[in-house]
């Protein structure tokens, strides 16, 4: 018993480890063995071609992630936050979005970025230290990565309040999706976002990827109840989905986004998944978790189950997989090349885009620094 359990041992009000057996309490449409199952609340009409497309997304996103890890190991990136294990949660939810929907990511949403059409090389810019993001969020309706934990959930809610004021809720409406992790649910900002979204009935879907670990802290450091159940206390529905099941993530997110677009307000989706890699490339998970846990989750791999389904149902032939392997290699090579060719920004660019209007103080600093740099060039000459 730890100090946190003092006085609580006799109370069985809440289960200790974050919920009932997962199988009893989440939406699943594709089992880890690759078998399609139905759920009465989430019927999913989906063609073989669409499932192949999702599989392609999953494979390419994992390939991008592997390439980025390798680039970091080789010193080409400062750091990388791997999405390994969370591909289905990101691709399933990302493909549930319409072009006019807006997404607010954390710093790990590489799969969502892919679905929104953002060039993966832009993500590398951030982790290489060439920019703080630098893409135009309006171009793909994909906001900048947010590193401070949970801040973006309020931005998403405010954006959704703007949609309401624009009269863009209803038939053919727009909605917002906010991504965050299990750790973020402890932040004040996230709880405030839940409150604001609830009382304003904002068209926002809170998509929590519960990957079980906030760096070294397991979920029970953050919550005594399954995270999705918190939504009820705030006054909107919460649902837990098998985060390693791309079909379930697609169906559940689609339904929640549609409800938001139509004016039915927010939903909290808890995608129950697992961070198979380290928190980032600077982290060493062997210090705080058991290898056996990872092995258990490998059996629930989000990609293998789709492959098993495609093979068993003969929805894809050998050629499909061979071609996809080749495409993955090509994508990996392309982003590697883009990374290696990425120029460092000019030193004076750090004075750009700080203010909308010219700022005399900053301009003076820039000019002084430019003159200072020139003294070195003269010295070299």
């Amino acid at each position: 018993m730890t100090v946190n359990d003092a006085g609580r041992a006799a109370s069985a009000d809440f289960p200790r480890h974050g919920g009932q057996p997962e199988s009893a309490e989440f939406i699943q449409l594709l089992t880890p063995e690759g078998e399609r199952v139905d759920h009465p609340d989430y019927p999913l009409e989906i063609s073989a071609e669409e499932i192949r497309a999702l599989y392609r997304d999953l494979v390419l996103v994992r390939r991008i992630d592997f390439e980025a890890i390798a680039l970091q190991r080789q010193g080409e990136l400062g750091i990388w936050a791997s999405l390994l294990g969370q591909e289905a949660a990101q691709v399933g939810s990302g493909r549930a979005l319409g072009p006019r929907d807006m997404a607010f990511p954390t710093y790990r949403e590489h799969g969502v970025a892919w679905c929104r059409g953002l060039d993966p090389a832009k993500l590398l810019e951030l982790y290489r230290g060439v920019s703080h993001g630098g893409w135009d969020p309006k171009e793909h309706n994909f906001h900048l990565y947010t590193i401070v934990i949970g801040s973006q959930t309020l931005h998403a809610t405010g954006y959704a309040m703007g949609i309401q004021r624009d009269g863009a809720v209803g038939e053919d409406g727009e909605a917002v999706i906010a991504y965050f992790g299990d750790g973020a649910t402890s932040q004040g900002d996230v709880n405030e976002a839940f409150i604001w979204a609830s009382v304003t009935n904002a068209p926002v879907v809170f998509f929590c990827q519960n990957n079980q670990w906030a760096i070294s802290e397991p979920l029970e450091r953050q919550s005594r109840v399954p995270l999705y159940r918190r939504a009820h206390g705030f006054g909107f529905p919460g649902v837990r989905v098998d985060g390693n099941d791309v079909l379930a993530c697609l169906a559940v997110t689609r339904k929640a986004m549609q409800a938001a677009r139509e004016g039915q307000g927010p939903t909290l989706i808890e995608a129950f998944t697992y961070r198979m890699g380290a928190h980032t490339t600077t982290d060493d998970p062997t210090r705080y978790r058991l290898a056996a846990e990872l092995e258990t989750w490998k059996l629930k791999d989000p990609i293998e189950r789709v492959k098993a389904y495609l093979v068993r149902s003969q929805a894809a032939d050998e050629q499909f997989f061979t071609d996809l392997d080749a495409e993955a290699a090509e994508v990996g090579a392309r982003i590697r090349k883009a990374c290696l060719q990425m120029p460092d920004p000019s030193p004076l660019s750090m004075f750009d885009n700080v203010y909308a209007e010219p700022n005399p103080l900053l301009e003076a600093e820039r000019d002084q620094y430019a003159a200072y740099l020139e003294t070195f060039e003269e010295a070299v000459r």
Binding site: G78, Q187, M350, E365
Partner: protein, 327 residues
Amino acid sequence: MTRLTLSKALNEGLRKALESDPKVLIMGEDVGKLGGVFRVTDGLQKDFGEARVVDTPLAESGIVGTAIGLALRGYRPVCEIQFDGFVFPAFDQITTQLAKMRFRSLGHLSLPVVVRIPCGGGIGAVEHHSESPEALFTHTGGLRVVACGDPADAYAMIQLAISCDDPVIFFEPKRRYWDRAEVDTAGGLAAALPLGQARTVISGTDVTLLCYGPMVRTCAAAAVAAGNEGRSLEVIDLRSLSPLDTGTIFESVRRTGRCVVAHEAPVTGGLGAEIAARITEECFYQLEAPVLRVGGFSAPYPPSRLEEHYLPDLDRVLDAVDRTFGY
């Protein structure tokens, strides 16, 4: 004497504090099993238990807010904020509550809380991991603000901060965590320099160089380089940023007549501005040149590929030293 990194010296200092006072607690994100992302609390939970070394929920406002409550109940919490840029959710608790409780209670209440913050850049990190927010705290009455610059000082200062009855914002220079030096962990703190006192790192006669935290090593190297060119710089590690040890500062500047203040934080509204103003007020007739500041620019901290341009280095410090001779 034993040779320790700055990170390990802090770890040893925290260990001593946990051993000597059962009311000392450590709390923060990943400080337990992981031992902190910089390993400053490595092994402490194993040895002192989960009740004293607490992995908290991921909420900085909660870390400091509950530390205040624990302090009201008689504990001495040492909070870790994982990175400088993450202190802001806790800023409200620090500035509106932690700083003011003694004042509001007319001295009935003390909040002996330490808030450790790894600070500064230079490690190639992403956004919000390289900030120098010290001036935001020195601007707030009721807080002690200190910065350690080398392993021996880190070892002593963390213990002094914990034993201090005022709240202490404790800045740790993250790019110096791996610097090694001799640290005396056997003796007590009787001989240690008080927390509020500056330390003359290198004595000199021509220019006073004021610095703290990560800039101490940079400025010491600058003094050596200047010495090779026949110029004698006096390097003073301020250690305490609030209150400032103005006695040591003024004494030095009155002798040298020239002063440069170096910090990583932006110069605009930074601590250097406060120091320059005070020196001007008190040492005006001994000054041969205005007090010059070297620091970050008035722009957000840049992407890491540019941080070597943003961070003041040896050349920029020496450039400012040179300029003090141009008046």
